[in-house]
C-alpha cells in the first residue's frame, strides 16, 4: 500500500464537524468533472491511490477514468463497500426483504424464495457474494488491489459477533478479485481480536487514529498498545479529527506510531492536498533519521 491514500469524504459532503462545510463541499463538487479534477491534483502530488465508497457518483467517475486509460495507468482505487446510506434509506423505505430484492441482480432472490426458507438459509453467503459483485461492477477495468468493508457494516457485524461473515468476505475478495481484503472500523482493538480468532492474520485495518483520541473506541492507550504489540497493517484515518488538530501536529503523531502503514486523508484544495502530504513526508523523514541515529 502507498504511504498516503487520498480519500473521498469531501466529495460527498461528509464532514464530521460542520454541516455548513458539507453543504459548501456539495456545491463545489456538484459536477463529476470537479471531483476528477481534484483527483488529478492529488495524482500530480504523488497520491496514486484513491480510497472511496461505492457511491453512485463513483461509478460515473470510473466511466471518466476508463475513457483515458493512458492518463490513469498507474492509478489505483481502494473501494469501500457498501455505501451504507443507500441501503439504510432503502431498508427504511422497502424493508429488509425489499432491499435485498432491489439490490440483488436478476431473479436470484425470487427463485430462492420459491424454494422456501430451507434453501434460503443455506445461501446467505451467496447473497453476500452477489452483493459484493454488484458493488464491484463499477470498477471493471480499474486496478483495485485492496477492497474494504465499510465501518458501519464491519462494526455492526463486530457487535453481533458474526465472525464467520468476516471470514467469508475475506476469502471471497481473495478468491474472486485476487485482491487484499481490508476492514474499516471505529473499534480497532476489538476487531483485531475478532479477526485473529477466525484465523485472519496480519489484517489490513483502517481506523480513526489521531492525537486527541477522537473515535478511538476502547481508548487511545489501548490503540497505541495494540499498534505497538500486535501484528496488523493499519491505515490511519481521521488523523485531523475533523479539523480539531492542526495538520502538522496531527501528522507528526501518526507518523511516529509503529505499524501504521498508510495515512488516509481527503482535501478539496490543491493547497491542502500538497501541504498535508508534505507534512507526512517531512515527519516520515524526521522519524526515519531518528531511528537511524538510535540503531547506529
Amino acid at each position: 500500500m502507498d504511504r498516503i491514500l487520498f480519500g473521498d469524504n469531501q466529495f460527498f459532503s461528509v464532514n464530521h464537524i460542520s454541516d455548513e462545510k458539507s453543504r459548501a463541499q456539495s456545491i463545489k463538487f456538484k459536477d463529476d468533472r470537479a471531483i476528477l479534477n481534484t483527483i488529478d491534483i492529488a495524482i500530480n502530488e504523488g497520491l496514486g491511490t484513491f480510497m472511496c465508497t461505492t457511491h453512485d457518483r463513483i461509478a460515473r467517475i470510473c466511466d471518466l477514468i476508463r475513457q483515458k486509460p493512458s492518463a490513469y495507468q498507474d492509478f489505483r482505487i481502494y473501494p469501500c463497500m457498501p455505501y451504507a446510506h443507500k441501503y439504510a434509506n432503502s431498508v427504511t423505505e422497502l424493508g429488509v426483504i425489499g432491499t435485498i430484492q432491489q439490490y440483488i441482480p436478476g431473479g436470484f432472490f425470487s427463485s430462492l424464495f420459491k424454494g422456501g426458507t430451507a434453501i434460503l438459509s443455506k445461501d446467505y453467503t451467496s447473497i453476500m457474494e452477489l452483493m459484493i459483485d454488484a458493488e464491484m461492477k463499477m470498477f471493471k477495468g480499474i486496478d483495485t488491489p485492496v477492497i474494504f468493508l465499510q465501518n458501519v457494516v464491519t462494526d455492526l457485524l463486530l457487535g453481533l459477533n458474526m465472525k464467520e461473515v468476516f471470514l467469508a468476505y475475506y476469502d471471497y475478495i481473495i478468491r474472486k478479485y485476487n485482491a487484499e481484503p481490508g476492514f474499516i472500523t471505529m473499534n480497532l482493538p476489538k476487531l483485531l481480536d475478532t479477526l485473529e480468532s477466525v484465523g485472519i492474520k496480519n489484517p489490513i485495518i483502517c481506523s480513526s487514529i489521531n492525537k486527541i483520541g477522537f473515535r478511538m473506541s476502547g481508548g487511545q492507550e489501548l490503540y497505541e498498545h495494540t499498534l505497538k504489540t500486535r501484528k496488523l497493517r493499519a491505515i490511519a484515518m481521521q488523523v485531523l479529527a475533523g479539523g480539531a488538530i492542526p495538520a502538522k501536529e496531527a501528522v507528526e503523531y501518526v507518523c511516529m506510531l509503529p505499524n501504521v502503514e498508510s495515512i488516509l486523508f481527503g482535501a478539496s484544495s490543491k493547497q491542502n492536498i500538497s501541504e498535508t502530504s508534505a507534512f507526512i513526508r517531512e515527519a516520515d523523514k524526521l522519524y526515519s533519521q531518528k531511528e537511524t541515529l538510535l540503531t547506529s
Binding site: 464532514n15 446510506h85 422497502l94 426483504i97 462494526d155 459477533n161 476489538k190 476502547g218 480539531a244
Partner: protein, 340 residues
Amino acid sequence: MIKCALIGAGKMGISHLSILGAHPDAKVVGVADNTRVVTDVLQKYTTFPCYTDYRKMLEVAKPDAVFVAAPTKYHSQFVNELVSRGIHVFVEKPFCLNLQEGKELVKLVKHKGLINQVGYHNKFIGTFREAKSIIKSKYLGTLQHFVGESYGPVVIRKKQNNWRSSPEEGGGCLLDYASHVIDLINDVISPITRINGCIMKSLYSTSVEDSVYSLLEAEGPVSGVLSVNWSDETFRKMSTSITIIGSNGKIISDASELKVYFKSDNCPPGYSKGWNIRYVTDLTEAVDFYLRGEEYSAQVDYFIRAVKGEVPNIINTFESALLTDSIVGQIKRYSNQYHG
C-alpha cells in the same frame, strides 16, 4: 451481567443488538422478530437465541431488561406486558400512539419501580447537551424565540409500502422525524405548552404527511417555530438543529457544531463575548464501542448503568417521552381541525 433481550430486529433493533452484543455488562439472552429472514441470519451467524414468539422468549430467557424496537403501534402492548412482568424497558421513539395508554404505562412503571427509557438519542449528543447547560444556567438571559428544524431524505419519491407509510401504525413525518425535534425543544429549552398554528403537507406519500410546520409556545413563555421535512434530498442523512435567541445572546446548534453568540462578557467559562464555536469532537465523551454515532452507544450504556443502579434514571424517561407524545397529538389535532 444484565440479561437483555430484543423485540423487533429491524434497523434500530439490530443497531441496539450490536451495541448490546459489544457491551461488557450486557448479555443478550434472546431476540424476537417475526421476519423469518432476519431471525434465520441471526440464528445462523450469532450466538443469540432467536424466537418468533416474544412471549415464549420472555418465559424461556427470563431477561432483566428488554429493548422494544417493534413498529410504534405495538409499543404500548409490549411495554405493558414487560413492565407487568417486572422487566426494565428501553423502547424506541415515539413512545405510544395512544396518550391514555402512555399515561397508564408511566403510572405502572413508577409503581413497579422499574428503569424506563425511550430512544430519543439526541439528548446524548454533546452539542445539544452543552446548549442545554448554557440555557439552564441562564447565560442566554430571558429566552425570546426558538427555531427547531429537522430535514432528511427518507421519502424522496412516490413509492412506499411499509409501516412508515401507514398513519395507524405510527408512520409519517410528524411521529418519525418531528418527534425528535419536539422532544429536544422540551428538554433543551422548556416544555411546549401551546400550538398556535400548524401545516402538515404530503409531498410524495399518499397516506401520511412528509412535512410539518408549526408555530409553538413553550414555558417562559417563549415563541418558536418547528420546521420538519423528511423529503429533502439535499441532506445526506437526518439533520436536526435548534436556534435559540435570548436577551443575552443566541445559540445555533446541530449534532456536530455549536455556535454561541454572547452580547456581553457574562458567559460560561471557556466562552467569550461575540461568536464562539465548539465542535462535537470536544463535547462528546468517547464510547467503548462505536457503531453509528456516540449517542447510540451512550444511550444504551446509560440504560444498562441505570439498571445496575450506577446512574439515576432521569434521561428520556417514559414520562418525558409522554410529554412529547402529547405535543405530537396536539399538533395532529390542530392540523386536522383546521385543514381536515
